[in-house]
Amino acid sequence: MLRYLLEKEIKQFVRNSFLPKMVVMLPLMAMLIFPLIANFEIKNINLCVVDHDRSIQSQKLIQKIQSSGYFRITDVAESYQRAMLQVESNNSDMLLEIPVAFGKDIEQGTSTNVLIAANAVNGVKGGLGSSYLTAILQNFSVDIATKIQLPKAMPQGAGFSIIPRFWFNPTLNYKMFMIPALMIMVLAIVSGFLPAMNIVGEKESGTIEQMNVTPVGRFQFILAKLIPYWLVGFIALSIAVLVSRWVYGFKPQGSIVTVYLFASMFMLAFSGFGLVISNYAKTMQQAIFMILFFLLTFIFLSGFYTPINNMPQWGQVLSNFSPFKFIIQSVRLVYLKGCGFADMLPQFFALCGFAVFFNGWAVLSYRKKS
């Protein structure tokens, strides 16, 4: 019986004018476009320079800033107040004030101060911009110090140089951080969203009622809905894996089998979540909004964008209720750190827990309604 139902589901899926295209397009779009635009590396920060010194040294500094690639000198103002106007009118994101006698002080080896001010309306841009600029300034002062050989009068912080080593992602490439998470997002939509929509669709069109007066059991009916989407989920995941390999040259440090193993447990859990929704939603519209609400909540709690450690204490506790947290963690660990299955047992068991919880809930909530 299950075979016939599966046959029907697959026929309907293939015949759908939209779904097969979406299964290919979604991972392609997610992999080709999102990593490029959802980028936390800040470039093209508009900088307004107030140069009271106008010396060779100040010129050198400005050139250095410009050549870093992060900044665009959009304006050179005469005073701090004028520069602030630029920031206020949003023409500049940051301003740098170089004091009078900056060059002279440097050459003589006395310490000097520059002023950095950043517009923090966009917190990420302000924060990262000022730290980039600080790094450039530090670098600059080290250069000066070595050039003019004045060990005693070295500016502060130049006594030792800090060369950070970024483990597991040496170039701090943001894409490598995003790609594993995006893979999971694709997987969630295909394995959780689509079967739920399919079932609610049968509710809307009344066909579920026609099926209910046949000997088809509820369990078989649901299994026939889920299996095709699990397969489709693997196809979408594979597309994502291949794109990240061919386009970004991004290979998992660990075993790809581990990735698939975790992904299948996640699909089981998340399709259970979809079933819960389909039991409560009467129309597609309701289902879409319910899923969207939970999907967004899960994603923001998962550490997809922001590290979980940055969250307030209660947020960190809440994050344990998002299945995304555990799957994104494990896929990132496999991809970047090369962790094996044994290293991620807590994550795996957490996903198992979600699978039991959601599927159990789906079964119970269905029984109550019939």
Partner: protein
């Protein structure tokens, strides 16, 4: 309800009630349908026909009362019932994105049978849609959809067939054909429960139940229902039909008055007024060329009469 009855009848309902919140969809419905009968449930929209069908096809549970279908309890043995009944809901509920053939195939297979096995049952109907068997069900015309739905409900050779308003929205010719098909199925020994809002179809059933506001008004053969009409019924025809209806209703000795196609059907309080009195009254109201003729009651008149009697008994 004794045991013998249960065995003879295919469908057996005893004091079934169902409410949706404060709305009483069904109130103490009891009836029996014998094997090989065409049993019609006749009533307006919202009378409770669909709710009754959904209870008997095990889709919903009644609040109280018991029912058996094919000798099996609708609550305890719903799994068995599902193997032996065919249900055609009022709304087209097949897979629109599958073809005619594929729909039939899916429903045959989930009942563990094949199209070939019971082809003789659906042959007469299926030949009419066979030319379109590669067409998707969603692209069929209304009548074709109806025929396909009937085929799908029949493909597992059910012993009881539930048809919920099968002819609503179907053209008169297809309606006629449809009823001829039902007659043939009856000859195959299939018990058929059919609901319809069309009174003219009632005459085609073996027995009918008139239902209103969740209550059965009467269960009888169509002939007996008509014969039991106790009033003298008249048709009234005039030039200004809508004014005529109003004036008739204002007549003090009028009992019932309904628009009925191109005439009005009335009954009078016979001890108070005669047709001649009425004729005079209408003339004073300025109606010319009024024809008043006696007529034989139809099922619709009986339905109206029963509704009227019921409302009278409430007052």
């Amino acid at each position: 309800m004794n045991k013998n009855n249960c065995q003879l009848s295919t469908v057996n309902c005893h004091l079934i009630s169902k409410s949706y919140g404060v709305v009483k969809a069904l109130e103490n419905i009891s009836f029996e349908v014998e094997k090989g009968e065409i049993f019609g449930i006749i009533g307006p929209d919202g009378a409770g026909k669909t709710t009754l069908f959904r209870i008997l096809t095990t889709l919903i549970l009644a609040d109280s009362g018991t029912a058996t279908v094919d000798g099996r309890d609708v609550v305890k043995e719903y799994n068995e019932i599902r193997k032996h009944v065919g249900y055609m809901p009022g709304r087209f509920s097949l897979y629109q994105d599958l073809t005619v053939e594929e729909n039939l195939d899916v429903f045959a297979k989930v009942f563990n049978t094949s199209i070939e096995e019971n082809y003789h049952l659906i042959k007469d109907i299926y030949v009419q849609i066979e030319p379109f068997k590669k067409r998707r069900a969603g692209k069929l015309s209304g009548g074709m959809k109806q025929k396909l739905a009937l085929c799908c409900a029949l493909i597992h050779k059910p012993s009881v067939l539930f048809l919920d308003e099968p002819t609503t929205g179907v053209d008169p010719v297809s309606r006629k054909e449809f009823w001829e098909m039902l007659k043939r199925l009856k000859n195959e020994g299939i018990t058929i429960l059919v609901s319809t809002p069309y009174m003219d179809e009632a005459a085609l059933c073996d027995r009918i139940a008139l239902i209103q506001n969740g209550q059965f008004l009467k269960i009888e053969t169509p002939e007996n229902i008509v014969n039991q009409f106790a009033q003298e019924l008249w048709t009234v025809k005039g030039v200004q039909m809508s004014k005529l209806l109003n004036d008739l209703r204002q007549y003090e000795h009028i009992r019932t008055c309904f628009a009925f196609g191109d005439t009005h059907h009335i009954t009078l309080e016979s001890n108070m007024s005669t047709v001649e009195n009425l004729q005079d009254y209408l003339q004073t109201k300025g109606h010319l060329q009024v024809e008043i003729k006696p007529t034989k009651a139809s099922i619709e008149d009986c339905f109206m009469e029963l509704t009227f009697e019921k409302s009278e008994s409430y007052d």
